[in-house]
Symmetry: C2
Subunit: 262 residues, 2 copies
């Protein structure tokens, strides 16, 4: 299997950098082909601006990002750095996002990667809009058939991210990425691999986490994905995209209603 | 009142840029002093890296961001661009974040602003850690006494972001910013001002939204904030920071349990 990893941490000697090395080594030992985009090392340009559309936008005129993005994507005029990332992404059957300290810190380069690489026609804006189909999104899209998984570290404890924890449940914190971005583009999303309290992690903690990560990666082809509801297959009223009454579990609210429980 | 606005959109002629102009004009007409950080125009360096700590980190050695950030903040060695933003932020009694198309696009520069400006000692890591107090955070912190409000636009409709909408309720989508970032640093958070479906917005739609925005800003001193629960005042078990049993409304789950209902 071809695996594509996006990594966004300034320090390769960090906990995250070490997890990345474990990931690459483990996947290769299983016979997978691995490609890594190391956004800091690549000096990835994070912000989207008119320099992204040199052939499809006239400098100094009003920039309408979606329109310029569509013109550039369909006319094969995106910038080379973006095209390369789209190709790496397309090639991989498995896409892995390594996102350190998700909530407040570090992830800006990855955010900028998404803004630029998931152009109109690639990450959004595809498919037909009819009475029974509201675009190819949430379970359908250009990236259908790929699996994705977030590997991340957070400073807080597992309790801080538990059902009653003050930071919110970890799956809610990750929802706008797992569901709003990865599942949105058609990818199948595996449960995230999260390490807590890495700020004070010892070598022993790292070794334990590395072992857990290797075990997870061994099962990567069979891990059960998060069972998000697809948009265009009967569960939602269209075009409002609201979940039909009665499909959720009793008492379920918020993000949870968009996940099918066993 | 002194108002500080952080703006992160590549195009001043955009819907967002026009809302910014309305905001500045309206606030000034009410006698407020307004300062704007226009991150694209300032060529804001988004990513945090070793160049952020020239005096407190030795190039080429392992970068530990929190430690380097603390040393730089407490030793007055942060870079000038970061110090200037911290000062603008400190000066304002009201902080306004204008975030276009929040979920997937555009906001990377703002994310990078937060990563760098909210350094240890400023945005996190302050206060004592005892059995009854887990740091100055969630309702306490350096930015206590300030009010904050998000002004944002999204491509989806109001239904897409409703209680049963596929994107998730708008207040859940904004929770990691409103609660996890703004309230976390001690700020009081006002309900966000959100414009939906701006991609296809006509001049008439803009004028309506501009009018609503002006009305909102007129009441800025009296708008009821989102009533998030403070961390260190009895509602949470410490240090796990889990909400004590029975405080939420019956059936409430997810992010909602952290908001006190009337």
């Amino acid at each position: 299997m071809k695996v594509f990893i996006v990594f966004a941490h300034p320090e390769e000697k960090s906990f995250n950098g070490s997890l990345l090395k474990e990931t690459v080594a483990q996947l290769k030992s299983q016979g997978h082909e691995v490609k890594v985009s190391d956004l800091y090392k690549q000096h990835w340009k994070p912000q989207i601006d008119e320099d992204d559309f040199p052939a499809t936008h006239e400098k100094g005129t009003r920039l309408q990002v979606a329109a310029a993005s569509a013109k550039a994507f369909y006319g094969n005029k995106l910038t080379l750095d973006v095209v390369e990332e789209q190709e790496k992404n397309q090639m991989g059957r498995f896409v892995n996002f390594t996102i350190p300290s998700l909530v407040v810190r570090y992830a800006c380069l990855l955010k900028g990667w998404v803004e630029r690489v998931f152009s109109l026609g690639f990450g959004y804006g595809t498919g037909e809009y009819t009475d029974t189909h509201f675009g190819d999104r949430y379970g359908e899209g250009v990236l259908t058939g790929k699996k994705a998984m977030i590997i991340t570290t957070v400073g807080g404890t597992v309790e801080h991210y538990s059902a009653r924890g003050i930071n919110g449940p970890i799956n809610d914190v990750l929802f706008t990425i797992n569901h709003g971005l990865l599942f949105f583009t058609g990818m199948t999303v595996l449960p995230p691999f999260v390490t807590y309290k890495t700020d004070s992690a010892t070598e022993e903690v790292f070794q334990n986490e590395a072992k857990k990560l290797r075990e997870t990666l061994k099962n990567i082809e069979t891990i059960k994905p998060i069972n998000y509801r697809k948009q265009n297959f009967g569960d939602y009223n269209l075009p409002g995209c609201t979940l039909k009454e009665g499909l959720e579990q009793p008492g379920e609210t918020g993000y949870d209603i968009h996940i099918i429980k066993d």
